[in-house]
Each structure stands twice: as C-alpha cells, then as structure tokens.
Assembly symmetry: C2
Homo-oligomer: 660 residues x 2
Amino acid sequence: MSPDASERRSPEEVVDEYERRLESVLAEVDEPVPDDEGPTLELAGLELDRRDFMKTGIAAGAMGAVAGCSSLSPGGGSGGGQSGSSESGVDHKVAPGEHDEYYGFWSGGHSGELRVVGIPSMRELTRIPVFNTDCASGYGYDDETRAMLEEGGGYTWGDNHHPNLSETDGDYDGEYLFVNDKANGRIARVNLKYFETDAILDVPNMQAIHGCSVLSPDTKYVLGNGEFRAPVPNDGTAANDPDAYESLFVAVDPETMETKWQVSVDGNLDIVDTGKEGRWAIASCYNSEEATDIQGMTRDDRDYLKAFDIPAIEKAVKNGRYDREVNGVPIVDGTQSSRLNKGDRPVVQYIPTPKSPHCVEVGPDGKYAFVAGKLSPTVTMLDLEKLGSVSDPADAVVGRPKVGLGPLHTTFDGNGHAYTSLFIDSQVAKWDIAAAVEADEGSEDPVIEKLDVHYNPGHIQALEAMTTDPDGEWLVVLNKLSKDRFLPVGPIMPDNDQLIHIGQGEKEMELVADHPAYPEPHDCVFAHKDKISPKKVYDRADYADEKPYIEEKDSGVERTGESSVHVKASTKRSEYGLPEFTVKEGDEVRLTMTNIEGVQDIIHGVAIPEHDVNLAVAPQDTREVTFTADDPGVYWIYCTYFCSALHLEMRSRMIVEPSE
Amino acid sequence: MSPDASERRSPEEVVDEYERRLESVLAEVDEPVPDDEGPTLELAGLELDRRDFMKTGIAAGAMGAVAGCSSLSPGGGSGGGQSGSSESGVDHKVAPGEHDEYYGFWSGGHSGELRVVGIPSMRELTRIPVFNTDCASGYGYDDETRAMLEEGGGYTWGDNHHPNLSETDGDYDGEYLFVNDKANGRIARVNLKYFETDAILDVPNMQAIHGCSVLSPDTKYVLGNGEFRAPVPNDGTAANDPDAYESLFVAVDPETMETKWQVSVDGNLDIVDTGKEGRWAIASCYNSEEATDIQGMTRDDRDYLKAFDIPAIEKAVKNGRYDREVNGVPIVDGTQSSRLNKGDRPVVQYIPTPKSPHCVEVGPDGKYAFVAGKLSPTVTMLDLEKLGSVSDPADAVVGRPKVGLGPLHTTFDGNGHAYTSLFIDSQVAKWDIAAAVEADEGSEDPVIEKLDVHYNPGHIQALEAMTTDPDGEWLVVLNKLSKDRFLPVGPIMPDNDQLIHIGQGEKEMELVADHPAYPEPHDCVFAHKDKISPKKVYDRADYADEKPYIEEKDSGVERTGESSVHVKASTKRSEYGLPEFTVKEGDEVRLTMTNIEGVQDIIHGVAIPEHDVNLAVAPQDTREVTFTADDPGVYWIYCTYFCSALHLEMRSRMIVEPSE
C-alpha cells in the first residue's frame, strides 16, 4: 500500500501548495468584483446589491491582504526560533504559599476537559473532566458520573471550545461554568462549588455546537451555534441533498439544562457573543454558499453576521410562530427567506461582512460587537444600539479598521483599546476603539502597536475582558503552535499560552512568559478570586437525599439477589470500614463508600486490581460503583491517595469464591 | 440509609482517632522489646536473635520517635498556611523562547499518565498517556493503541508510580522510559523518540507492582516489586488461606518486554533500586507478619530489606534450580525458609530494619543504599560492597542517622549530602553521608539543616540524583497535600510540587516555587536536555513495514465485504484527501489516514461526530480506526487541531445511507 518513494510528493511540495492556495484565497478577496457579477442579498426585505455592500467597506477592508502576504508560512512573520522578548522587566511570579489573583478557566479542546489556571503565575491548579473520562478523579468510573455521561450521549470524548461563567446583574456569580462540545453537539455545566461537571445535555437536532455563550446580564440562556449543516432530523432521508441541510441556533435553560428553542438559519454558524442588555446575540457565519467542500465554502467574497433578536424569538415561540417542533423542540425559521424576516420584526438580522469572519466579542461597554475578518485583514465593528433602529442592518457597521493578516479574536483592557490576535502574522495588534469609529474604513490609523507572538494565535483574553469592568493588567494569547519554543517532546507539540503585560493599556505590550499547553485549548475566561468560592469539603446539605452516608458501623455486605450483593463501607485515614468481604464468582457487586473525614484535602481512593474499579472519595462524599466479580481469587482494595504514614497498609480484601 | 446525624462520629473525632492511632504505632516502635520476647530470625543459615538484631541499631534508630510527636497532624510541623519562604533570592524563570535545561518525567499516579516537566521552570511540557486513554492525543482511539491497551490487560486506567530511564554504560541513553502500574501489576515502556507508550506488559502471576527500577548500568532488566500477596496462580483455590499467599519479584526484558523470571519472597515488597554494578537490587519490605489487616501488618517492630543477588538468581534459573513454572515464568524460591537460601549462595539476602521501611535509593557512587524508616525516624544505610562479603548481612548496615518523623525518600547532590523527605514533619532534612557512617546509630549529628515543605512530602529528587553524576543545583519535592497553598478548587485539591534550590549542597536550601500537580504524582526522574533527542516528524524508516502511507491520489473507498468498507485518505492543511464518501448503515468502516505534511507541529485531527471517533495524526504518521456506521445520516468529519487559517473549512463528509 505504501507507494514507491519516488512517486510521492515531498512534504515540502505539499506545504508549498498550501501556501500558494492560501495566497490565492487572499488574493481573490482583494480582487474587485464587477458590479454585474456580485450576488444580490435579500436582507430584511431589502435588495442590497454589490454596490451597497461595498459601502460597508468590505473591499477597502480586504485591501492590503496581499501587501502583507510575503510571510505567509505559519509563524513566518515573527522571528522564527528567536525569543520574542529579552529578559522581561515585568515579573509574574507568585511567591511560594501566596495565591494567584485570578482564576482562569481554559477549555481543553479535544482533551475533553477544562483546566483551571492561576493568573498571573500561569500554573495549572487543577483539571475538570467534562466530556472525557478521567481516572485521577474517578470521573466516569462511579455510577453517578457514568450515568451522566451515558445520558449525555454516551461518548467517551468531546471537543470543548468556549467556557462561559454564569452571571447575575452582569457580573460573575461563581455558580456555574458552561461549555460546548463541538464534536457531538452538547453543552455541559460545571458546578463551581465543587469544580465538577454536574450536567451534560446532548442537544437535539444539532450535530456540532461551536460558538457558545451565556445571555448577559443574568444567564437567562446558554446559547449555542450549530456549525455543521445537516438535515433536521438527520435520519438519512436527505443525506444526499445539501440544499435540505440546516444550521440551528439553540437556547438552553441554565437551571434545568433543557432545550428551550432553536432557530434555523442560512450558512454555517461559527462564534457567538451577546450584548450586555439581554437582547442581541451576534453570531459569525461562514459558508453562506452552503457548499460541501472547501472550494465552494470560500467561493464568494462575502458572508453574514447573524444578529439574533432574543425577545423577538421568544415572542415568536410564545405566539406559536414557529414552523416545526422536532424532537420536542420548537424551531423558529430565521432564514433570509423566512416569513418572519419579511414580517414586522425579523427574529434574525443579517449583516454582510468580508468572507469567512471568525470571532465575535462584545466590548465591555456593550456598545460594539467586534468581528475579526480571518481571511480579511480587518475587524468589523457592529454598533448594537444602532442595530435596533437602522432600517438596513448594514448601516450598523460603524468601523472596519485594518489590523493585520488573519485576525481571529479581540479582547479589551477597559480603557478604550482593543487587542486582536493575528493568526497569519503571528502578532497581537493593539488598537484604539474610538479612533477606529472615526477612521476611514480599512484604515490602519487606529493601530497603536503590534507584538510578535509564537505562533499562530487564536483566542486572546484580557482579565475579565468579557465583563463590563475589565482588569486591564494582563492578557493571555493562546497560540496554536509552539514549534521551537520548548524542549522537544516528539511530533505532537504543546500549544503555547503566552502571558502579555498590558498595564491598563497605558504601557507597551510586553511578552512576559511562555507556557506550554497540552492540546488543544481554544479559549479561556477569567474571574477574580473573590468571585469564586468553592467548598473544601462536601456539604451534605447539598445532596442530602441523593447520596447515602455510610458510617463505620454501617459497613457490611448485604446479599440483594441470587447474583448480586451490596457492599457498604466507610473510609478514613489508613482504614476501610471493611477489612475484608467475600462475594461469589459472577456476582454483580454494588460498592458504596463514604469518606467519613471532615478535614480538607484528605481524599481516599478505592482501587480494585484487575477489575477496572477506581473511585476518588473526598471528605464527606459518598461514591458508588457497580461491577461484576468475574474471576475467583483474592483482590486487595487499596487507597490511591497517599493519605497518611500508614497509607500503604490501608487495605481491604475482596475474596471472590469460585461458583459451584 | 443515611443515619441520624446525632449518631455519627464527627469528622473531628475520626481525625483525633487517627492521630492517637499513629502516636500509638510510633510509641510501640520506641518500646524496648525484652530479649526473651524477640522473634528469632533465620537468615542465611544463621540464627539471629533479638540481641544481634539490636546491634544494628534498630532500637537506637527508633528512639526519639515520640519525642518529636507533638505535631503529628499532617503538615502540623510546618507553619500552617504561612508562606514557607519570603520572596526568594533565587529565580527559576526561563525567559520566553528559552529552553529549560532538564527534562523531568513525572509519574501521574492514578491519572495513569506520565507528565513531562521542564526544569527549572516547572512548566508541564506535555503529557504521555500510558495506562489511561486520552482523547487529546487519540491514545486508545486508534486501532493500534487500542490493541496495545487490550493486550496489556484491557483496563482503562492504571496507577503509575516509578518512572525509570533506560541506561547505557550507567548513563541515560534517551531510548526508553519504563513505569509500573500498581493497580494491575503491569509495566509499560515509553519510546522517547516519539514520547509515546509502545508496549504494556501485564506481568503474569502478579496483582500489584509497586517498586520498579531498571538494572544499572545497561538496563539488562526492568525489575518490579510485587506488593500484594496472593496465591500463585490467583485462581480462587487458596483465596481464604493467607498462609498460601506469596509476593513475587520480577525481571522483564526491556527489548522484548517479556517476563524472564520471578522470585518468591516473604512479606510485602515496597520500593526497589539497584546498585550501579549490576549485581544488587535492594527492595524494602513491610508486613513481614504476613497479616491481612493494618493491625497485623504493624504488629512487630521489625521488617526486612531484601537484597536480590541478580547473578545468583540468573544462575539458579539457568541451572533449573527453580521450584515452579507458572504461566510460563520460572519462579525461584527466595523465601527465608528456602533451600537456595540454605545453600552455598543465597539468591536473596534478608537485612533487618525498623518496621515498615519505605524508600530505597542507591547513592551516586553506588556505595550505599539508603532506606527511609517511615515509622522510624531514621535512614538505614546499607553498604553494598560489604553486602557481598559479610557473613551476616545485618553487618552491612553501616549507618542509621536520625533525620526526623516519617522519612520516606532520599536524594543526593553528588557532593556528599543526602536529602530526606519527612512526611510527618513536613520537612526536608539535609544531612552529611560520611558523618552518618561515622556517627553513633540513631544520632542526629549528621543532620545539617531542615526546611519546611508544604505538606507531607513523598518522593524527593535532585537533578540526575539517580545517576553517578548528579547536577546538584535543584531539588524537587513532591508533597502529597497542598491544603491552603493555592486558590481553592473544590474538595479534590492538587498536590504541591516544590522546587528547592540546593546550590551543589554548598548553600542553605531555599524554597523557590510551589507548583500544583493534578493527582497524584509519586516520583520523577530527570535527564539533561542533551540526553533526550525526540523526533519532530515521524520517520517512516522507523515503521516502514508496519504502517501504510496514503497519498492524496490513493484516497478512496474500497468495499471489502458485504458489510465492510476500507476508507483511505490523506490529510494536509485545510483538506482531507476525500471531500466526501458514502457507506451503508451497519457497515464496519476501517478508516486509514496519513498526514502527508513534513512540517513539524502541523497535526491533523480526524473527528467524526456522534461516532466517538477521534484520531490525531502527526506529520508523516498514519493512523487507523475501525468503527461501525450505525445510524443513517450525514456526518461532517473535521480537524480537531487548528491547523491553518482555513481550518474551519477543512471537512470531509460521511454519508451513511439507510439499509434497504
């Protein structure tokens, strides 16, 4: 099967072709399109032709893409293997025993987990398994989490992208974190009292959820962008008919974790963020062509933002003005050709942008949504106040500065500056928001400064930039490639999360630290330490009726059926409540363990060799696992946490007697 | 099931009892045992009575255990929540873009993985999944790794404790790392060219392997300590007869990963290290009582080191002087009552120590093995040169300094100092090796300095301390508890890996940094960066005949049976070799993907929504996965690595047609 080496194209040839192809895509963006060839756009009842579209500055914004194209190889613009900064004058050290000031919650991409990182030290404080299983914490090993994963679709992995903290009155309330699974169209909730995933919703009718946001200011909904177009329902009947595919946008109730409604739209939805006032959710969109391959997806030179008018959608749902109910979910038609969009109040506004935009981030004052151009070197600024009043939503575009090649995401210092990551240039551009509104479309004038990063940055987040009151001291940029920045660790290299000092926007950006990240964080969100108050020991009042509590004296074995037993035991430092117990070959064993200690940080593990059993029981917590005792023999149950000086001697003994 | 709260013992009462219990155990160690009550010990044909045993200093060594017992609560001796160090004068910063000087390989405990940490920055560079599955790297998701895990016992988790680097001529050769699984009695090998696990051996006849070491100086064997006593074979026939249980010691061939031989011994084997000369493997041992509960395991006041004489064992195996062959493995009898021990050359020497010793570390010059007392406040120094010549192996004990409460592990700076972790005192004791030999047994005089650590340290490792030439600049201590050292993250807190500057042993120890660690590292090993040379792109010469190579032009679908298809595709930036393919409902799909790029750090993922399919394909690598297409519909295959500006548009489309 392996072809002769001489027939193969060399890896270098493959890359050359990639670079030619990307240049060609960018060049196309730059080419003026004759008026008579421009597609027309039906938008809120208006005919918008190519000339009207141009007035929003798309062509000007795209200008210059080629001018900067000489360094198209990834990271090529940023100094190769050189250090991006000499010895830094700013220190991010947190002395031994002192605490970080901010929690950072990192999505873990296709690792399926979240990571909690302290800022400014950049130390990973813990991991929170979400869509993956995790033997360190026993997540997916006890009956409760196993059932939750099963109900959440039964997959063993997911691809989490966009973590969101719950809000009350527009500020983080420390209750929940919500995150999407791109791979299987799911949304999970993490309980921030315990730093544990407590719900996973496999959203009906949606294959992939990419963008994910909570509706400010009070977390009324968790919102999700359906990225992959597919038939609804996707049962095979229209699998060969791409015209019948749809993209959906979904609203999920954060408390019940039920799907409230969905909206069907054109094209592929990408990223979403909401305004601060509870009305608008702005989603970026690509593949307005509704093609099925990359050539088709990048054919036209424009795409559309979608502005979801949440109260209008709620009203439509309430009044029964939705087209269908599929798998119990009302689906409102938000396509350009829909009745609702031709009626008195469209539920979705379509705003033209250069092709294939990527991020949407709403600034701290809630005035603008910033949409990075990806294939255009510009950021489109959408005025959310205007959006509700202009008759042509394209008129709500009030700025489109040129920031550099491959702009993907934007963040804020709260002092009037925006910072945009430039994927292709491998840079961060700092620019002046007010100046961008006043400047000509496509102007570079608002840009204040650029800093090399290493390499190919994606998301960029300044401290609490997604709130109304950013901290403005530090910024983190999540670089997709690290290449030569760390000691080599084989072909799969870490990403590089870089810490940049921005000093309230009053100083020059300074690269302070490189931090390797296991693949593949996509985004992060920060909360000041005073806004998060986790419990250090399980509070039984939080689940009094849900979990049993096994005292030492309750420890014992109860036969519950011909081939089933219930084993109950307490655990504390150096002793399980049962030093030994006997079951029969083939028994289904339900094992219930309570950690009866009340001291923080004293966890007890429950490992059974050769049975794939593995629990972690925190103080005052109870965990259960059900397994089959298939093989006769003696098995030593032991504690996986080094809990005391007598930890090694801490043991219980399971004897599995041969069946007759 | 939840008892009335008033019936329960409070968590505080539970802890009080623990502390009383531990005090009582330590007090017992200190009590002089009347001569006529002392157990006799048959050792190498000699009768060693209690008085002879005393001469090695056990009682003196145990003295003082109670004197220091006033701060028995974990971490109580070390300043509670206060910072252990004021702003440090020594910096461990590695500037952006600069490399660490050392690789650290951390065992991940029951997370099942290894972690690679840069020193001195303490940044986690990557993870290496070993006994766990890992969706980030696709480990356990492609057919090859799935089959390896299946052949390695089929478990989804493991508990890795002791990482060991392969050696040639006594120095690290950068080829392999070996690590044990305590939970299921396994040994895994990691290929350091690719930082990937390439073999897992489920060792026959052994339930738990705790200690693990390679035989210096040329990695002739990987050695493993069987910790849990069980019948051999463990088939249920003697499950209720603890007298019939055995502990085994195993030697595994590092190249073929086959079990060469095992030795049956008394008691529970704990930690093992080898001399530098290829002869001795020294293992610590507890539960010489061969009891089945903690009361019995800690009853007597002595235990025994076991010194495995490797050439003697090899000779016994070669000459057929082994008792049995079980599951294809020759088992040599190394118990105290065995014929071989009464013959001319014992295969195992038994050396008495205070009860329940823990670590064994052989010093850089290979002269002494250092055995920490755990329940005794002493470190036993065993002279490996003497061991081969003295008629009473107890006479090879040449030092037993008193270092503090709960000594667990010892490390070295290469300049004559030892550093012992004190679990109960939460300290590191630095002491003078030569002075300890000259001092009276149980003397504190050799101790130079103690430093508080936070909290309850286990393994401690200075840079390359396990080689003949330690670096001596830094030391890492792996603390089991972090309690208040980091921002709180719920009931399951991180461990705390602390970086301590030791300055070649010429300076006072200085605590420089706290680093949180996801549960639960047990040990680490360091190699200078020049000794590890990973490949950055797959080298097809390394597996030319094992893996196919799919060119773009080879991409296609081949029906291989009534219900099976083989889908082959290349992958490169922004395009899969197949933009779409069609299979039938119920088909078994074998999907083979080659990343045809040759550029480092450009990984492509292969994710199929709702099919639990997830591959990571590094440059020039090929991965395969076989799955069933159960549900009709359209499924968008996408890349999980953000590989280019056109990453989002990179897609293949699987159409599953409904069966007739």
